[in-house]
């Protein structure tokens, strides 16, 4: 890895990341990927986020869904852990709470495959400073 020695280098890395994302879409027949974020802070892991993430990583390819499953930090919904955020291509992210393996299965079958919403949605309740 070449070290970042200037502001230009940092921009190049950002471009490289964006190109890699683009490449992934191209490899997926020019379709955007399903993005899944699993809240994996100490609290999430303690309430069982890890098996859910492992389940998603194992099951999605089996069910022919190309997705990027990513671990993140705390989303703030401690009372509803484990929580997932799913972004379907060109749609707004949807957050689900109380996700156990059964719920994860339901989310794959009903939300990801059919586009139906399932019980346990957490409406986004904050605005981000971006």
């Amino acid at each position: 890895m070449a070290k970042i020695k200037s502001v230009e280098d940092l921009k190049k890395i950002k471009e490289r990341i964006e190109q890699a994302n683009q490449k992934m879409i191209e490899n997926n027949n020019h379709q955007k990927l399903v993005e899944i974020k699993v809240a994996m802070a100490t609290c999430g892991i303690a309430s069982g986020a890890r098996p859910v993430m492992d389940f998603l990583i194992a099951e999605l390819p089996k069910r022919n869904i190309v997705a990027r499953v990513k671990q993140t930090g705390c989303m703030g919904y401690c009372y509803a852990e484990p929580t997932l955020e799913i972004t379907m291509p060109d749609e707004k992210p949807v957050v689900f709470g109380y996700v156990d393996l059964k719920k994860a299965d339901e989310i794959i079958e009903r939300f990801i495959k059919k586009g139906e919403l399932v019980d346990g949605i957490i409406p986004i309740n904050y605005e981000l400073a971006t």
Binding site: I4, I17, A41, G73, Y79, K113, G115, L117, I121, P123
Partner: protein, 590 residues
């Protein structure tokens, strides 16, 4: 793949919406949709709390994301006819308002938590994709250290660890100290019971701390940073270490950052979890390998700190705000919040509240909004009694403070403090005397023992509170309690002792009647103190089956077979086993 349903109705299933709604809205909607033959086009979904609890019952219609509040059974027809069939808004049910502290329609506004839950904390590219390290690049290549410090001063950012000292001013003082070596220290020794803000930031967005520490180093002229983190946070430590390695690999830490002459590197030091080490002088001693004991200020760490070199100590959340301020500008940050407290504050909501969680609100948000709208109100529909802010150093706020806009100064004026952001909510079942005793137990345990007022005074305070809870208190004890609290507060060496009597003083101020009841009426009004409980056997129901006497672990119950049994109150330990075992409801609790 087209969605089966054209629209979805999200119905809030939070407990306060359920209570506000007299009927099962989900079932009502489903039934009505059937009447209109829409059940195959529109889906009704149960949703987790919307954070608008005071306006409940709430629903959201998607995909257009229209929120309706105070929805009753009678509104369903209108919603279906006007909205679902004719695509118009039912105006009378819309309560979207714009909050003046942030200019947002949402109560929560995330600055410090902007990346938490969005990026993979173990992948630096995720952070760079979100403009990570752009603030550092900007500072190093476009501004002088003085210019950056001025920006931070202008933003009005105040220390988020509890003290509320203006961050930019602290940097300015440290930058003016002359020395061959200076240090930047990140205080991640989060020890308040019920607080988990710093842990969440480090676990969710460690790179922002690294970036901010480097910016601080540039401003004050330090090339060395140290994160002092408690060893009880293994995941935060692991992710921080990964982040440090990645930053070094990318050349974002090390020598000649961004081609300038600025060098910066960060080390980690572990704390053993002593509460007092959150105090900056004690923290510095602990880092030096000495006992974690505070020393008198001045000299301030900005002048003589770690290894007697000028040291700038800031809290995790303070640092987390820095890159956002640099990227978006000091004016933007200063536009959020109240006159003297700018920006947002992260709180860890805990206790008897429905939505326990990590929240970030603009300064100036009221306690009522935090507790009822974001927190979803009190669990099990109980009545709100008090909220403890600032942990063991803070005080309790009561119903009369609910409309208080939260900022550093308003909380101090109300006899509590901002603290690092723990917020513990208590309901009507909580006894305020036991609550004060709980916090004193904590400070007695955590006092380092260096100064007498804190070491001995807190111990005596705890004993007095225990006496009150054990039904052995007198009115003189109440006076003594107050006097000694003030002495400990005035004469202790560091912040720990200077604030440890706060839970007593504030509960005595707000709930003196409870203290009075413990001493004069020999009663615990909330029924939490066991010593005031009395188990009795009722004459009418007791058939003399001897089950209670046989099960009593201390043999406090006596009586012959088929005759009335009696509990000896002197021996009884109030375990309640007799009540559980009795099949005739003969045992009553008074």
């Amino acid at each position: 793949m087209s969605p089966k349903f054209k629209k979805s109705i999200l119905v809030c299933n939070g407990s306060s919406c359920l209570q506000a709604s007299k009927v099962n809205l989900i079932a009502e909607f489903q039934a009505k949709l059937k009447e209109y033959n829409l059940e195959n086009e529109i889906q009704v979904v149960q949703s987790v709390c919307f954070n608008k609890c005071t306006l409940g019952p709430n629903i959201i219609i998607q995909p257009e994301n229209v929120e309706y509040s105070t929805v009753t059974k009678e509104d369903i027809d209108d919603i279906i006819i006007i909205h679902l069939l004719n695509n118009k808004i039912v105006e009378r049910l819309v309560y979207n308002q714009v909050y003046e502290n942030s200019g947002s329609t949402k109560k929560q506004y995330r600055i410090a938590l902007r990346n938490c839950g969005f990026i993979n904390p173990e992948v630096i590219d995720d952070y760079i994709e979100k403009d990570g390290y752009a603030a550092l690049a900007k500072c190093l290549t476009e501004f002088t250290p003085q210019e950056v410090t001025q920006q931070i001063i202008k933003s009005g950012l105040r220390g988020r660890g509890g003290g509320g000292f203006p961050t930019g001013v602290k940097w300015d003082i440290t930058s003016k100290s002359v020395a061959d070596q200076k240090y930047v220290v990140c205080n991640a020794d989060e020890g308040d019971p019920g607080a988990f803000m710093d842990r969440s930031v480090l676990e969710g967005d460690p790179h922002s701390i690294i970036e901010a520490m480097a910016i601080c180093g540039y401003c004050i002229g330090a090339d060395k940073g140290i994160v002092y983190i408690r060893a009880e946070y293994p995941l935060a430590i692991k992710r921080l270490k990964i982040a440090l390695d990645q930053a070094k690999e990318y050349g974002l830490l090390g020598e000649k950052l961004f081609g300038t002459n600025f060098n910066f590197d960060i080390d980690i030091k572990y704390g053993a979890g002593a509460f007092v080490c959150g105090e900056e002088t004690a923290l510095i001693h602990s880092m030096e390998g000495l006992r974690g004991e505070p020393t008198l200020k001045p000299p301030f760490p900005s002048v003589s700190g770690y290894l007697e070199k000028p040291t700038n100590v800031n809290n995790v959340e303070t640092f987390a705000n820095i890159p956002a301020i640099i990227n978006k500008g000091a004016d933007w940050f200063a536009s959020i919040g109240t006159e003297k407290s700018k920006g947002t504050k992260v709180f860890a909501l805990a206790g008897k509240i429905n939505n326990v969680g990590l929240i970030e609100v603009p300064m100036g948000t009221t306690l009522r909004e935090v507790i009822y709208d974001i927190g979803g109100g009190i669990r099990d529909g109980k009545k709100f009694k008090a909220v403890q802010t600032g942990g063991p150093s803070g005080g309790c706020l009561t119903e009369k403070h609910l409309d208080l806009p939260i900022d550093f100064d308003s909380l101090s004026a109300a006899g509590s403090m901002m603290g690092s952001g723990g917020m513990i909510v208590m309901d009507e079942d909580d006894c305020m005397v036991s609550m004060a005793r709980f916090y004193l137990e904590f400070t007695v345990e955590e006092s380092c023992g260096k100064c007498a007022p804190c070491r001995i005074g807190n111990k005596r305070l705890h004993e007095m509170l225990t006496k009150l809870c054990d039904d052995k208190g007198t009115l003189e004890d109440l006076d003594l309690l107050r006097n000694l609290s003030n002495v400990v507060k005035d004469t202790s060496l560091c912040g720990l002792g200077q604030t440890s009597p706060n839970p007593i003083l504030s509960t005595m101020q707000n709930f003196y009647d409870e203290y009075h009841a413990h001493v004069v009426d020999h009663k615990c009004p909330s029924g939490q103190c066991k010593s005031f409980m009395r188990y009795y056997i009722s004459e009418q129901n007791c058939i003399g089956c001897v089950v209670c006497a046989r099960n009593c672990p201390v043999n406090a119950i006596s009586g012959e077979k088929k005759q009335l049994h009696v509990i000896d109150q002197e021996i009884c330990i109030k375990c309640g086993i007799c009540m559980d075992k009795c099949k005739f409801d003969a045992i009553t609790l008074n």
